[in-house]
Symmetry: C2
Subunit: 502 residues, 2 copies
C-alpha cells in the first residue's frame, strides 16, 4: 500500500468513528470506496460567473439550475475559479495543465488552421490512461483538427462528438447555411458528427443538422452513461470528459426546453444543460458509484458578449458575468472567472471557497489523487490543489494567474489585484483582430499608460486604476511574470497565429 492508500484508510476509520458522535454527513460505507476515484468532468460552454443558481442565477435570473446547485450543496463551490479568455485556450489549459500559449493554442482554433494541439503535449487523458483509467470524451474538443491532435490520439479510448477542428465553424454553418473545408476531416459534404476509438481514423456518423444540434447533448449523456456502466462492470476506474454544447451560440434548446426560462434561448439552454447534469448525477447514483466518483462541473470562459459573436445579430443570446467586467474574449474578470463545482462524497467537505483555482490546476490535482505522473520535462503551470479539495488547507496553493492573448501577456492577477500590461485591440471579430498593442511580453514596445492596476474585489467593474497608489503591488505581480519568462529559456513557446480571439 502506498502512502495515499494509507492515509485513506486512516481517514476512513476516522470518518466511521465520527458517525457515532452525532454529525453523520459523511456516514456510509467508506471502506468500500474504490482505490482511485473515477472522474466525471462536465465542461459547459460560455456559461458566465453569474448564470448558475448558486452563483446568483436561479430565480434571480429566471433560469434555475437545481441539479448543478445540488453539486454545490454536496461539494465544493469555488468562487474564484479562473480560466483563459476563450474556448480553445481554456480547453488546452485544462487538458495539458499548462498555459495555452505553451501549446500554441492561446487563440481560438478556426477551420483550416494549422495550429493544433501538438503531438508531444501530454494530456490529462494520457496521464490517467497511463495509470489504468478508461478514458472517453464525448462532445466538443476544439483543440485543432490535425490527426495527431484528435482526442483518440491524445489519450482517449473513445471519442464521439463535434468535429475536433471545426467546432466554431460547425456552430456557425448551421446558422449561416454555408459550407467549409476542413483539415484532415472529410467535411466537404457539410458538418458531420464524428467518432473514433483510440488510434483510429475519424469516421463520419451523421450530418450535424440543426435538429442534431438541438439534441446532441442528450446523445453525449447517453453515451456517457453507457461508458460509465461498462467501466463499472469491468471494475475499471474511468475518466469521462463531457464538454457539452448547450450554451454556445447559436442557442438551440430541445423543443421541450423552448420557453422554459424567462430570458430566452440562452436561459432555456442553461436549464437543459442542468437537466443533462442531473441525468449524469442520477446515473452515478443508480450505478452505485457516487462515492467513488469525483464530479466536476465548470465553465470554459465568460459569457458571449455584445460584438464578440459574429453571429450575435440583434437579439442577445448570452449569459451574465455577475458583477464582473467583460465577456468572452476579453481579458477582464468577467471573461476569466467562471463557475466550478467539485463533488466527491466523503472526501470533499461541502463548502464554498474563495481560494484561487485555475483550470490548469485540475491536471496536477487529479494526478495526485489518481496516482498519475505530472510530466517533469516541461513547465507545468497547474498547481496541485488536492489539499484544498480535501480540506487540509482552505486558502489554496495559488496566488497568481497570467492571461495571454495570442503571443502577448496582457494581464496578471496576484491576490485580489489585476494588472494590465497592454490593451487589446478593439476590433475583435475575425482572425487577426486580436493583436494586442504592446504588452509586457513584447520586446521594446512602449507601455503608454500601462500598467494599470485594479482591485477586483472592491472594484469588480475595473474602473478605478490604483496603479499609482498601490505601485508596491507590481513587485509580486512582476515576480510571477519573471518566473514565467524564465521557463521560456529552456522551453520556448511555439508560434501562435492565424486564429481568432474568441
Amino acid at each position: 500500500m502506498n502512502w495515499l492508500g494509507l492515509w485513506r484508510r486512516t481517514r476512513n476509520a476516522l470518518a466511521i468513528t465520527s458517525c457515532f458522535v452525532g454529525y453523520s454527513l459523511f456516514a456510509g460505507t467508506a471502506s468500500a470506496q474504490q482505490s482511485t476515484p473515477n472522474i466525471l468532468f462536465i465542461l459547459a460552454d460560455n456559461v458566465g460567473y453569474g448564470d448558475i443558481g448558486v452563483y446568483g442565477g436561479s430565480d434571480l435570473r429566471g433560469s434555475p439550475t437545481p441539479r448543478i446547485d445540488q453539486l454545490a450543496a454536496e461539494g465544493l463551490r469555488l468562487t474564484q475559479f479562473l480560466v483563459e479568455p476563450s474556448c480553445t485556450p481554456s480547453r488546452a489549459a485544462l487538458m495539458t495543465g499548462r498555459y495555452s500559449i505553451r501549446s500554441g493554442l492561446s487563440l481560438v482554433a478556426v477551420a483550416g488552421t494549422p495550429f493544433s494541439l501538438p503531438e508531444e503535449e501530454i494530456t490529462m487523458a494520457e496521464m490517467l490512461h497511463d495509470v489504468g483509467y478508461a478514458t472517453a470524451m464525448f462532445g466538443k474538443w476544439h483543440l485543432g483538427g490535425q490527426t495527431y491532435s484528435q482526442p483518440q490520439n491524445q489519450g482517449f479510448d473513445e471519442f464521439y462528438g463535434i468535429p475536433p477542428g471545426d467546432t466554431w465553424d460547425a456552430f456557425g454553418m448551421i446558422r449561416q447555411g454555408h459550407q467549409t473545408k476542413s483539415v484532415d476531416i472529410p467535411l466537404d459534404r457539410g458538418p458531420h458528427l464524428v467518432e473514433a476509438k483510440r488510434g483510429e481514423q475519424l469516421k463520419l456518423v451523421k450530418p450535424y443538422t440543426e435538429e442534431v444540434r438541438r439534441g446532441i447533448d442528450w446523445e453525449l449523456a447517453d453515451r456517457g452513461v453507457e461508458f460509465m456502466t461498462r467501466q463499472k462492470a469491468a471494475g475499471k476506474p474511468f475518466f469521462l470528459y463531457l464538454p457539452i454544447s448547450r450554451t454556445h451560440f447559436p442557442n438551440l434548446p430541445s423543443k421541450r426546453f423552448e420557453g422554459a426560462s424567462r430570458i430566452g434561448q440562452f436561459g432555456d439552454s442553461l436549464m437543459e444543460g442542468d437537466a443533462i447534469v442531473g441525468t449524469m448525477l442520477d446515473a452515478l447514483k443508480d450505478l452505485g458509484i457516487e462515492e467513488d466518483t469525483i464530479v466536476v462541473f465548470a465553465s470554459d470562459n465568460g459569457p458571449d458578449g455584445p460584438g464578440a459573436s459574429p453571429f450575435g445579430g440583434d437579439m442577445p443570446d448570452m449569459g451574465t458575468t455577475g458583477p464582473y467586467r467583460g465577456a468572452l474574449g476579453d481579458v477582464s474578470e468577467g471573461a476569466i472567472r467562471t463557475a466550478a463545482l467539485i463533488r466527491w462524497p466523503q472526501r470533499i467537505r461541502p463548502r464554498s471557497s474563495y481560494a484561487m483555482f485555475s483550470i490548469m490546476d485540475f491536471f496536477p490535482t487529479f494526478a495526485h489523487l489518481a496516482g498519475g505522473k505530472v510530466p517533469d520535462d516541461r513547465p507545468i503551470d497547474g498547481i496541485d490543489q488536492s489539499d484544498l479539495l480535501l480540506g487540509e488547507d482552505d486558502s489554496g496553493a495559488r496566488e497568481h494567474l497570467l492571461t495571454f492573448v495570442g503571443s502577448e501577456l496582457v494581464a496578471v492577477r496576484w491576490k485580489q489585484f489585476r494588472a494590465y500590461f497592454a490593451d487589446v485591440a478593439p476590433g475583435r471579430s475575425g482572425p487577426g483582430g486580436a493583436t494586442p498593442m504592446g504588452g509586457v511580453g513584447s520586446s521594446a514596445a512602449p507601455m503608454n499608460g500601462y500598467p494599470k492596476v485594479f482591485n477586483i474585489e472592491s472594484d469588480p467593474q475595473e474602473e478605478h486604476n490604483i496603479g499609482e497608489m498601490y505601485n508596491w503591488v507590481l513587485g509580486p505581480l512582476l515576480k510571477a511574470v519573471e518566473e514565467y519568462k524564465e521557463t521560456l529559456v529552456r522551453s520556448p513557446n511555439p508560434p501562435a497565429a492565424n486564429m481568432t480571439k474568441f
Copy 2:
C-alpha cells in the same frame, strides 16, 4: 435591570424552550394576532441589486448578510423591486405613493434648495397615524429642509436623525471638512443630529462628527427598539421607518466592522447594516410581536457608481448591480432595480416572486392592510399589491413603471421591456448636470435615435436595441405614458429644478 437586559433574558429562555419543540415556524397562535399589523420599514442606502446574500452577494462577494437573508427565508423576496434613480426621488415616492415628480422631488435635494416635500402631500405616516398608528422615523429623511416638509410635520410622532434638508451635504462635509448653510435649520456651527416630536421645532442634539457617523445606525436601532417596546406596552400598532445610513458614501463602518468583509469599507458597512437588521429582528422576537409585524428591508436605489459620487476619489467604495446596467443616478435597470424583502409570519408565505413591485406600491398596500385611506383627490401611482403579498395572486398587479429625471420622462418599463425616450446628459456631477436631451415629456424637441427598446431579461446590460424589430412594444409602453399625461391635466406637476441628479 433595564429593558434591554430584560429582553435578553427573555430571549435566552425562549431559545432554551425552542430546543424541545422542533420545527415551529408556522406553529402557534394565529388567532392571537393583532388586528392591524405593525410595520417596520428598514430602508438601506445605495445597496445594489447584487449586494445582499440572497441576491447573489454573500460568499460570492465576500460580504455575507445572514440576517437579511433570514428575511428571505421567512418571507417574500421580490426579484423585480423597482425604485426611482436616486435618493430623494425614491424616498418621496415611498412616502407619498406617487412618482416623485408629482411632489417636485424628482432630483436630489441639496442644501439650500427651496424644493422640499410640499405641505399638502399626504405621507404614509399621515395615512397610518390617521388610523391610530404610533409613528416614528429615525434616520435620513432627505425630502427637503423646509419646516412643513420635516418628518415631525409630515405624520411622524417622533423624529431623530440626520438633518432633513442636508443629508447630502452632511455626508459630504464630514469628508471634506467644510461647512454650509441650511434652510430653516441652524447648522452654521456645522452639521448636527436633530430631533423633534410631532409639530415641534427641530432641536440640535449633538455635532454630527465622523465618530457619530460611524455609530449612528446603532443609535437609530436602539431608539427603534425603545419605540417598539413602548408601543407594545401601550398596545398600540406602530409604523417605524428606519432609513439607515451605512452604505452611503463615505462608508465609515464602526471599528468592530472594519475589515469584516473582503471588499473594503462598502462591504464592511453592508455587514454592519445586516447586524443592525438582526438587532431589530431579535427585538421583535423578544417583544413577542414577530407575528404582528410586517418587516420590510429595501434599498432606495442602485449602488454608487464611478463618477456618480463627487467624493468617490480613486478608491471604489460601492455596491454592485448584479447583471444589470448602470448605477445610482442612471435610469437603467441597475439604478432602479434593488433588493426588497417583506416578512409577515403566517400571512406572507415564504417565497421568491418576479412580480413587478414599485416602491410606490407600499403606500396603497399598507393602507389596505392597515385599514387606512388612500387619498382620492390626487393621482396615486402606487398600486395595492396586498393580493401579491398574501398569496392570492402571484403575478402582481403592476405591468409598467415610468422613470423621470428632473422634469423629463426618460424611460418606461413595460413587462420585460424598457424604452428610452431620451438620453441623460453625460455631465453628471453638480446641480444642473442632469438636464436630459429631449424626452417624450418635452414639447417639440426632436427624438434623434429614440425611442430605444431593450429586453431587460435577456439583455440585462441593455446593449441590443430591439426597437425596430419589436416596435409593437411601443403600443402598450406609450399607453402607460398617455395615462400618466392625462393625470397632469387636472394635477399638473410642480416645478423641479436646482437640484442634482444623484
